[in-house]
């Protein structure tokens, strides 16, 4: 908090405190299935509407109702949106976790809680605000069945009073959340907010320093989760065949996609769709259908997570060897096996790079933000179609399911490009073609689509050995030539995939490398390292695999390069080890976090400081 702008005020308790404005975190501890999501989103949105940069992290259990859930909103006037480990304002609504939640707070924090929980006795070094939730909810919600859901809105009112959040903004956020069709429900909830606010105004005396004040930190921004951003990306990339099998945390991407397709891709004249969506029988079928569709020329996509990836292994190898475009979104969660389905991880990097038996390599893209979910989705299709190969877009639960503040998406400027596809006119001109011949030197052959109106259009796609005319072959030379061309094609991708974001610091001896959502913790950690330890760093954030030359150049410039991984085994670093020289590898250091929560800056800072011996 050293750089925060602080003002001294006399608290009503009489002590002199430094006010903390727009730079703290609020955590709401509830039970899932209690409807708290609405209250949390409204609170987050209201703060956002006041111009304060925010981020929201939902830590939820893998069940439908009855287990503890924590929702953390971080307000940061500096724009830091990584998870913040320390909680400043707790709203303790879950009797089961309330004691532990309160005990883990730092001195000086706030706890708003249900009066009945009697938490006040626990400690004397935090600001307690008891609220009689049950007493307040009964008059505003006569229907006992709805009370459980409406009850949570009361804390929005209380917190709004305590932190100085404009009630008008809560009202606006609430009605936006419910939409015009649920105006009645919105009214009911609004009554609960008001009840909370009135109670707090009349009964609570503010003793803590935390406050939200209007600023201009997010003009023109939107709030969106990564899954919805990916879905929009696919819709605007012109996806036509969408196949899925439900799995957390990817399902909401497909549900969002279906929603947007229905809105924007039904032709008004006929009422018919320019797409097909199939909920497949399993992930094997899902990828099989995507590959069939890709072979026949459609832009096809599926989304899944770890267990689904494991099932897709065989078809990924087929797509690689037959050379068919396929786009697979992997919203990574914590494995192995079922693992922690509602926790985040970068656990599939190594697996997906080499998925399936035999020698395979698959390109991956690493979006870090909703903006990149949207733009890299477009790139994903163009690359998969150009290189005629399965491609993985590696997001994770943190990006996919949490709400993020983002810039408005830019309408795609590039036309949809379908890669090397020969049509009937081309065939007339050429007389024929050899499917896997490397005509252009980039390892990518020309293909035709079934249904092409020409007698020599046909080729036979097979996962067994083949020569450059796609004919069955078990010959040693055919096999080796083909495998070499496939490797060459993969290496060629380096020139075409999105380049990394590089920040070179002339004063830095060490570099930090990461991908995906590690970005947010890494960027804040660089600031901490500099401010708190005087440690200058350079930075390279990968957006794609295969890694381009930029990474080699970056490693060469720095004595030590910290590779950040959100997994136990340092998978991103392992991928570098596969292809890098011993000299390069000797400079690599590993920073790993694998607790399943969004990566925070403190963890990275602590790790680097420790390894640097500072």
């Amino acid at each position: 908090m050293s750089t925060s702008e602080m003002t001294s005020v006399a608290s009503s308790a009489g002590s002199l405190q430094q006010r903390v404005i727009n730079d703290f975190s609020i955590q709401v501890a509830t039970v899932n299935g209690s409807g708290s999501q609405t209250a949390n989103n409204v609170l987050m949105r209201a703060i956002f509407q006041m111009g304060v940069p925010i981020s929201g992290k939902n830590m939820f259990p893998s069940n439908i109702a009855g287990l503890p859930t924590w929702f953390t909103i971080r307000a940061s006037k500096h724009g830091w949106i990584a998870r913040k480990k320390e909680i400043d304002v707790l709203v303790a609504m879950n009797p089961e976790t309330a004691r532990e939640d309160v005990m883990s707070l730092a001195p000086g924090s706030v706890a708003v809680y249900d009066e009945m929980l009697r938490l006040k006795e626990l400690r004397s070094d935090i600001h307690f605000y008891p609220v009689p939730f049950d007493k307040l909810v009964t008059p505003v919600c006569p229907n006992a069945k709805l009370r459980k859901l409406v009850r949570n809105m009361i804390y929005d009112g209380v917190v709004a009073y305590l932190l100085g959040i404009d009630l008008e903004e809560i009202h606006k956020a609430l009605f936006k959340q419910f939409g015009p069709r649920k105006a009645k429900a919105a009214e009911l909830n609004w009554a609960a907010v008001q009840a909370g606010h009135e109670y707090a105004t009349a009964n609570l005396t503010k003793t803590d320093p935390f406050a939200i004040e209007r600023m201009d930190g997010n003009r023109g921004k939107i709030i969106i989760d990564g899954n919805t951003a990916c879905a929009l990306g696919c819709v605007f990339a012109g996806v036509t065949v969408v196949i899925w099998y439900p799995i957390t945390p990817s399902s909401s991407m497909m549900e969002a996609m279906i929603g947007y397709l229905k809105r924007f891709r039904i032709e008004p004249e006929t009422g018919r769709s320019t797409y097909a969506v199939v909920q497949a029988e399993d992930e094997l079928a899902a990828l099989g259908m995507v590959i069939g569709a890709g072979w026949a020329g459609a832009r096809s996509v599926t989304a899944t997570s770890g267990p689904g990836i494991s099932l897709m292994s065989e078809f990924t190898g087929l797509g690689y060897y037959v050379e068919v475009p396929a786009v697979i979104f992997d919203v990574q969660r914590a494995g192995p096996s079922t693992g922690l389905p509602t926790r985040t991880m970068q656990g599939d990097l190594l697996k997906n790079a080499l998925l399936s038996h035999g020698d395979t390599r698959h390109p991956m893209l690493f979006p870090s933000s909703p903006e990149e979910c949207f733009s890299l989705a477009q790139d994903a299709f163009n690359l998969a179609e150009f290189f005629q190969t399965p491609l993985f877009v590696m997001t994770d639960l943190d990006l996919g399911m949490n709400n993020w503040m983002a810039d408005q998406f830019e309408y795609p400027t590039e036309p949809i490009s379908r890669g090397k596809v020969l049509n009937a006119e081309d065939l007339k001109r050429l007389g024929g073609f050899a499917r896997y011949r490397d005509v252009d030197g980039d390892g990518v052959g020309y293909r035709t689509l079934p249904g092409t109106n020409h007698p020599s259009a046909a080729w036979f796609a097979r996962g067994s050995g083949h020569n450059d005319k796609a004919q069955y072959s078990e010959r040693e030379d055919d096999y080796i030539d083909n495998m070499n061309r496939l490797r060459h094609k993969f290496d060629e991708m380096k020139k075409h995939v999105p380049p990394p974001e590089v920040v070179l610091n002339e004063k830095a001896d060490i570099g930090i490398v990461c991908c995906g959502t590690s970005r947010w913790g890494a960027e804040e950690s660089r600031d901490q390292l500099k401010r708190e330890y005087g440690l200058e760093t350079s930075y390279l954030r990968l957006k794609a695999y295969p890694f381009g030359e930029e990474l080699n150049a970056f490693i060469a410039r720095h004595s030590r390069v910290y590779v950040i991984d959100q997994n136990r085994d340092g998978q991103l670093l392992e991928l570098m080890r596969l292809d890098f020289t011993a000299e390069e590898i000797s400079r690599l250091r590993s920073v790993r976090y694998y607790g399943g929560l969004p990566l925070d800056a403190r963890t990275i800072t602590g790790e680097i400081v420790g390894q640097e011996g500072l």
């Binding site: 399993d282 569709a293 072979w295 459609a298 080729w459």
Partner: protein
């Protein structure tokens, strides 16, 4: 069929193609393998029906049977996929281009074991596709292990007896929503050809289980999928006369002995009674007949079930008429205003 054409002029179909246009590469299957006879029927029937060869997409899994798409329709695109999962590939491909004529050839191992999940879900979707099971009761390509269609009591060459009840893919087909279900025998050229023509005319999923003896691993005395067994036990339920929409032939069949069905494309299917009357539009009757014949050891062949009135998968999904794969950018990328609206909603 006319027999008047002079031998000097090569016969051509209605598109002007000779049979050669429908042939594929030389078969590498064993001589006498039932699968080869099925490939021959496919060549013959696609020729006679005048199907545009480059509008056909062939699919298969892995097995001796699944190799056969390389041996027919050489001018058609083909996709030899992975073991048991060709239905998924075919589904995706036909969704991408619904104008293709899809034909999928698999084995009983493909369909009734490793791929049975895909098979069952394919049945539910009424995807317009001709699904042929080359059913030999064994895994040919991995050298003679039992498949899940082997009958109770049948023996492998080495003497192992199968104790488990077989999966009847036709029964599954009727039960789970296939709209044309047939069984035939690779040795019955006339019947198989007529059935395959009906499949081409059908708009929906056709499942044809063809008993196709494996001469190398399952054609011995104790096999119920052998040539000898089928010669004894083949029990056709009707004589099938297929009259394509583009031919106006009046076949004389005695009144009252025939059921006639007009198919989607205007072709007519005349099913001439043989023995017991059989109504292929009666689902429960069909299932009962299959159960009854299984008890006798006889193999009912013919068009076991037909329902021409169901919407196909494309209609169910409400898709536009043109192939999705080649829709222009203007029809698949929503306009700038659409993105603007979404951004406003989220801000």
């Amino acid at each position: 069929m006319s027999t008047t054409s002079s031998p000097a002029v090569k016969k051509q179909n209605r598109l002007g193609f000779e049979t050669a246009a429908y042939k594929g590469g030389r078969s590498t299957l064993c001589a006498g393998c039932g699968h080869n006879a099925i490939s021959e029927r496919i060549v013959e029937v696609f020729y006679e029906m005048g199907v545009q060869p480059w509008n056909v997409a062939k699919f298969s899994g892995i097995g001796c049977s699944s190799k056969s798409p390389a041996y027919f329709l050489g001018m058609s695109h083909g996709f030899n996929a992975v073991h048991g999962r060709a239905p998924a590939v075919a589904t995706g491909a036909l969704l991408a281009n619904q104008h293709l004529t899809g034909i999928l050839v698999t084995g009983d191992g493909d369909t009734a074991s490793i791929g049975i999940g895909h098979f069952m879900h394919l049945l539910r979707r009424n995807l317009p596709l001709i699904y042929i099971i080359e059913d030999n009761g064994v895994y040919g390509l991995t050298k003679g292990q039992f498949s899940a269609t082997a009958d109770v009591g049948s023996k492998t060459k080495s003497g192992v007896v199968n104790e488990m009840p077989p999966i009847d893919c036709c029964m599954l087909g009727i039960e789970l929503g296939a709209t044309l279900v047939a069984r035939s025998f690779s040795g019955d050229k006339r019947q198989l050809a007529a059935i395959l023509k009906a499949c081409i005319a059908h708009k929906g999923l056709s499942v044809v289980d063809v008993i196709s003896p494996c001469v190398t691993f399952n054609d011995h005395e104790d096999s119920t999928k052998s040539y000898a067994y089928m010669k004894e036990h083949d029990d056709p339920i009707h004589d099938i006369h297929f009259v394509p929409f583009f031919e106006d032939i009046t076949v004389e069949i005695p009144e009252g002995e025939t059921r006639e069905v007009t198919m989607h494309d205007g072709s007519r299917l005349r099913l001439q009674k043989l023995g017991e009357d059989y109504d292929p539009t009666d689902k429960i009757g069909a299932i009962n007949a299959l159960h009854a014949s299984a008890k006798t050891g006889n193999v009912l062949t013919g068009i076991l079930y037909y329902d021409g009135g169901q919407p196909d998968m494309f209609e169910q999904l409400g898709m536009v008429d043109e192939p999705l794969a080649t829709l222009p950018e203007s029809r698949v990328r929503p306009p700038r205003a659409a993105l603007q609206t979404v951004m406003e909603e989220l801000s």
